[in-house]
Amino acid sequence: MKKILLFTVLLSSLAFGSIRVDTTYSTLGAVAKEIGGDEISVSVLASSKYDPHFIVPKPSLLSKLRRADLLIMNGGGLELGWLPPLIRNANNSKIQTGAKGFLDMSHFINMIDKPATVSRAFGDVHAEGNPHYSTDPYVVLTMAKVIEKKLSEIDPEHSKIYKANLDKFLIEWNNYLENLNAKMKLCKNKKVVQYHELFNYFLKRYNIKSYGNIEPLPGISPSSKHTIELINTIKNNKIKTILQDVYHEKKTAKFIAKKTGAKVVIIPHDMGANGSSSLKEFYNNIATNLCQ
């Protein structure tokens, strides 16, 4: 009887994925699931309806981290304000910085917007560069390759499965990118402003120029002086689109829209935001809203 019980317990744990992977944000989680498939179970720490810089380090996140075999973080300073005490108090040696089960994705990304000088006088600047790289649909390819390598390192037994999943996914994603590129051709030379520099990677990829931000400095709430300057910029450059994320206040953007005739469009910063429930939906959502 005991043996049967043990066997079923073992079996059920296998069925739900024996490798536990925690990711800080949803996009990373979705890519991990593509590669890990049934071999892993993924749990995402931060809800994508909130500002990724200001996630509340709830104790429930500690119990997620406690049992993780692998933690995949975005890096580039994005988790600086909430993740370190969680890693410290989850009492899990596997996911400490430097351990085998700790993966900082930013180490594999060519980060843009690196500031020449770093001081908090310039607001909440990241010395490592702009950490919001997951808005670039090409970065998904890098994420997939890096995660495949890491999963095979942690769980060599299933490395063939991870490799097969990766190959399949790369083909699928490259096809998707072609479709997306065709879609994006329709909105070449678009001019935009944004709230926070959240979408620079996507904009750079498709040659869309951003003329400014609603916040005067990163992490600083809008000021009337800066808003007036931005209104003038929008008028002078005939900008038609204001990119707004899901979590900042929307009053300032609406005010600017009213003064300039530009349109406010809500763009997801991470999978899950703005009703996007898959990777493709996430990037389609950006593309559709941006190009309208």
Partner: protein
């Protein structure tokens, strides 16, 4: 057939031979000239590129100095806390206040008031906080409190980072994880003053002592943490027996989420030690925190704690209890406001001399505050306090206080835990 063709070709070529030879000679001379010119060019260019390579190599070598350890410097932060206070009690009276029934009798023991003592201006402290990963096995933390005339090691401890089975061990001088607010630093409290029951039972530093801590996080979907601590027990208000270490603390904490937005954290704690009369002191605590996220920058949180102490002083056992309950509304990333009620309810007198004629129970205080954070690193807070917990010159005295405090955390200051 092939032979015939070859032969005829030979004959034909010999017919044109003389003129062709001269032409070829001229061409050859020209080609040789071009070759020498190209060679000269190549030499020049390769010399140049060699020089460039040399320059690059030198620059790369100079990028790091041989024994630089800058990358290993600990995170260092400077925390400054200061205030302007208006109070309806003169400073020399206020300095001698007592919380009736407790050992911090300022007339006999002269315990200094650590924060916001003066009517007028106060520089409460400059704190230097450091943190560093020591090696793959340990992390080290230290907080140095610098007062105008005093240096104090607030905390200095190491903790493990690679123990198996969900264990963590901490050793050194540290703030105990007893209760909810005990382990928090003053600058991360929502009100500038310490809850009165904590001040009465443990004093301004709360339970903070040299010792060892072991914590275990259960591998469950629900957060469950169990901790045990052995501490020196130097705090004379509740403990302080000096023949050896005398204080043991244990607690269990758990938390659940209801949806994405509501989280609940609760815990029970016990501190068991020996007091200066060599008899037993037990402190029981229970705490409960609700936090509801209204958005990325907006939340409502309600935090309460109740503490109960029995202190055997040989002839008799004194019982005291008290609580605080605070409600904080964070409107956006700049503005938040809050209200707190704290009190000591039951209060058997603790002092041998007693407080003849003075009621020592039902000591209450009401505090309200509004704070403005221009940036996460700086905070201005305006608070009003109505305080019915103090005795001055052997009389209960109600105190009203308005305070504007400023706190900054500059440099590499780590994130606060929940």
């Amino acid at each position: 057939m092939k032979k015939n063709i070859c032969l005829s070709l030979l004959v034909a070529s010999s017919l044109f031979a003389d003129t062709a030879i001269d032409e070829i000679k001229a061409q050859l001379e020209q080609q040789q000239k071009i070759i020498t010119q190209l060679k000269a060019k190549l030499d020049m260019l390769s010399k140049k590129s060699e020089q460039q390579e040399n320059v690059q190599i030198v620059q790369n070598q100079n990028k790091s100095s041989s024994f630089s350890q800058n990358a290993y410097l600990p995170d260092i932060a400077l925390i400054l806390n200061m205030s302007a206070v208006s109070r309806d009690v003169a400073n020399d009276d206020y300095e001698k206040y007592n919380i009736p029934g407790f050992i911090d009798n300022k007339n006999t023991q002269n315990t200094p008031i650590p924060f916001n003592k003066n009517r007028g201006f106060n520089l409460n402290y400059a704190e230097v906080a450091m943190h560093s990963t020591v090696d793959p096995y340990f992390e080290a933390f230290a907080n140095f409190h610098l007062h105008t005339d005093k240096f104090e090691i607030g905390e200095a401890f190491v903790q493990t980072r690679s123990l198996p089975y969900g264990l963590l061990v901490k050793a050194g001088k540290f703030k105990s994880n007893f209760g909810r607010i005990n382990s928090k630093h003053q600058h991360s409290w929502h009100f500038d003053s310490q809850p009165i029951i904590y001040e009465a039972l443990f004093g301004p530093d709360a339970i903070s002592d040299a010792g060892v801590q072991v914590q275990y996080v259960a591998p469950t979907d629900t957060y469950i943490m169990i901790g045990a601590e052995a501490l020196q027990g130097t705090n004379k208000r509740s403990f302080g027996e000096e023949s050896g270490n005398n204080l043991y603390v244990g607690y269990i904490k758990t938390s659940i989420d209801i949806g994405d937005d509501l989280s609940v954290l609760g815990g029970v704690s016990v501190a068991h030690g020996k007091n200066t009369t060599k008899n037993t002191t037990d402190v029981y605590g229970t705490d409960l925190t609700f936090r509801y996220q209204l958005g990325s920058y907006s939340s409502l949180s309600w935090q309460s704690e109740y503490l109960y102490r029995t202190k055997n002083i040989g002839t008799t056992t004194n019982r005291q209890d008290g609580l605080y309950s605070e409600l904080i509304y964070q409107y956006n990333n700049n503005i938040s406001t809050g209200i707190r009620y704290d009190a000591i309810m039951k209060n058997d007198t603790d002092l041998q001399t007693g407080y003849a004629g003075i009621k020592t129970n039902n000591l209450e205080r009401y505090t309200t505050m509004v704070e403005y954070k221009p940036f996460p690193m700086s905070r201005l807070r305006l608070s009003y306090t109505y305080d019915k917990t103090k005795v001055m010159n052997l009389q209960r005295k109600d105190i009203q206080e308005v305070m504007l405090s400023l706190n900054i955390a500059a440099g590499a200051h780590g994130a606060h835990s929940y």
